[in-house]
């Protein structure tokens, strides 16, 4: 077990207790209860139906796809799916909430308890409990800086489906909270229920922070609202935990409240204006029927799930014999894993070997050469100029000795620029390793003739000169000679007195 994260106070170490509520925007074309589009970045109020604008008499109708995605997310987290759930009204007033209430699920959420495996660098693997997932509407967006006298409201987001994924208070350090969000993001992206784009706000977190002395009951928590990056989540926790420890050690007490994180100042601030808002007066939504699911529907959702990142990673280690590091890098996102599997399938086929025998070589090439090049180009793996099949061909040319390591590197550079197949490039530019002994013997003879003095030295015992001859032959072949063949032939030629 690794060292526990603590805040060192004057009175000793304090433990930090963290629970997260992650709001994940469901991938759907239309909104949770209306037929308006969910696309990001439209003209203000252009993706708004009269339902989203809460015009009197308009009725919500549930989008089945959003239900399906919430169930799939629950299943991916090993959670209990509630075949009977219900929508409730959460009442509060705000300019960007035209209904005066949010349709959410309070008492009977669609997804119950589940769990998520996380892994931190210091702490190793750990399980974080999931309390529930419920479906709810997003609010509109208020813009405060376009006019000195007014706030502007855009309802394009109003009514977009969100999943609120609530964890248990199981995390104990900023690193664990970061690992939790990372793992959750990997899963929703892998199954395609949320794009995980934190910058555009498709995923954001409310962070509940409290502190306590080891072994004591939970302290009073504060909730930091709407934090939209993993780094900010960690900074906000570190600041907030320190703030609470200072208050407690000065003899004060923590008031349960909602706070905001200010990334510019790296601090959290009280949101006093909402003190009253905690009384949401939930009641069952009268405009919607209870949400009833059949066991067959849940089974269909289950069958539609792809292999999850954790399972894939374990399979790469067990079946392909990859190191935990390589398996982790390749399964970090769906696109990388897909690219790798296409590369591996192609490589195994071309070389007529079982995948396990070529996996490490392919993984090393992909994480080293390919990722290095993509990084330099600033391109995502999905947009790689080189296809998995071209990568497989390159690896095959290396494996059968057509290419040497240095030649393969040279050829790969050309592939990145021209997007041509490696075989065609090698043919057209003569970039093939020369293993033909006849040609190499000729080159060796020429080198030996041109360096008679060095030859004499070598034969009188100066063994170190062997490297010099190898270099000369390689140079004479334009770098194309097969080094292993050159070694063999040279040894024979030099030692034939």
């Amino acid at each position: 077990m690794a060292e526990t994260y603590t805040i060192e106070g004057r009175t000793g170490p304090w433990e930090v207790v963290l629970g997260l509520e992650v709001h994940a925007q469901v991938i759907s074309k239309s909104k949770l209860f209306s037929g308006a589009s969910t696309t990001f970045g439209g003209e203000p109020n252009s993706q708004v139906s009269l339902v989203d604008a809460a015009m009197p008499g308009m009725l919500p109708v549930l989008n089945g796809e959003c239900v399906r995605q919430a169930v799939r997310t629950g299943l991916a987290l090993g959670a209990k799916i509630n075949l009977w759930s219900r929508f409730d009204r959460k009442n509060y007033f705000y300019a960007d909430l035209p209904q005066g209430y949010q349709i959410s699920q309070f008492q009977h959420p669609i997804v119950g308890e589940g769990k998520l495996e996380i892994e931190t660098e210091e702490g190793g693997p750990r399980t974080v409990g999931i309390e529930r997932i419920h479906l709810e509407q997003d609010a509109g967006k208020s813009i405060h800086d376009l006019s000195p006298s007014a706030s502007y409201v855009d309802l394009n987001r109003s009514g977009v489906a969100l999943m609120e994924i609530v964890s248990k208070p199981d995390m104990r350090s900023p690193a664990e909270a970061g690992a939790y969000v990372t793992a959750l993001r990997q899963i929703v992206r892998a199954i395609g229920s949320c794009d995980g784009n934190m910058q555009e706000g498709s995923m954001r977190a409310d962070v509940n922070v409290s502190v306590r002395k080891a072994g004591e009951p939970f302290g009073t928590r504060c909730e930091i609202k709407n934090v939209n990056s993993i780094r900010f989540i960690q900074q906000a926790i570190a600041y907030e935990a320190r703030r609470q420890v200072e208050i407690l050690e000065d003899g004060g007490s923590i008031h349960q409240e909602t706070r905001l994180f200010d990334p510019d100042r790296g601090e959290t601030r009280s949101l006093r204006s909402k003190e009253d808002a905690h009384d949401y007066r939930y009641f069952p939504e009268p405009d919607l029927l209870p949400l009833e699911l059949t066991a067959e529907f849940v089974e269909e959702c289950r069958r539609s799930l792809p292999e999850l990142p954790g399972a894939r990673r374990a399979r790469y280690e067990a079946e392909l014999g990859l190191t935990p590091y390589l398996a982790g890098v390749l399964t970090a996102d769906q696109d990388s894993a897909d690219w790798f599997e296409a590369l591996l399938a192609d490589t195994a086929k071309r070389q007529g070997k079982p995948p396990r025998d070529v996996a490490e070589r392919a993984a090393n090439w992909m994480t080293g050469e390919l990722f290095g090049a993509l990084n330099k180009l600033g391109v995502e793996v999905a947009d790689s100029p080189v296809s998995p099949a071209q990568g497989g061909e390159l690896l095959a040319l290396l494996a059968d000795g057509t290419l040497s390591g240095p030649l393969a590197k040279q050829l790969f550079e050309i592939m990145l620029e021209t997007r041509e197949d490696p075989g065609a490039i090698a043919e057209a530019r003569g970039l093939k390793q020369v293993s033909d002994t006849g040609a190499l013997e000729t080159a060796i003879a020429q080198v030996m003739a041109a360096n008679a003095d060095k030859l004499a030295e070598y034969r009188s015992g100066k063994d170190k000169l062997f490297g010099f001859f190898v270099g000369q032959v390689m140079k004479a072949s334009g770098g194309k000679a097969n080094p292993a063949v050159v070694n063999d032939l040279l040894k024979k030629a030099l030692n034939q007195a």
Binding site: K29, L62, G64
Partner: protein, 95 residues
């Protein structure tokens, strides 16, 4: 269950209802009458009755995930007391 005058004033505040001081006492009495009636209903033993959650026996009236609405910015803003550049313009909300 019963409510007192301070709770009535608080709930009115949360619901943005402006009540004159003189309205609070009669309203409290009326609400308590209603709550009293509900208490009376609670006395009926419903232990063996399935809860009724809807009066219409429909369950799967789900919408297909298609864009069928929107692009009506003018209509959406038509009743707004103030709008600007396609936005609703509301009194400045300061956090």
């Amino acid at each position: 269950m019963a409510v007192d005058e301070s709770m009535v004033a608080r709930v009115a505040g949360l619901a943005r209802l402006q009540l004159a001081a003189a309205e609070v006492e009669p309203l409290t009495r009326e609400l308590n009458n209603i709550l009293g009636w509900i208490d009376q209903l609670q006395a009926v033993d419903t232990g063996t009755v399935e809860p009724m959650t809807a009066v219409i026996p429909l369950t799967r009236e789900w919408r297909k995930d298609e864009v069928t609405d929107g692009d009506i910015q003018q209509d959406v803003l038509a009743n707004a007391p103030q709008s600007a550049h396609g936005f609703f313009a509301v009194p400045k909300v300061i956090e």
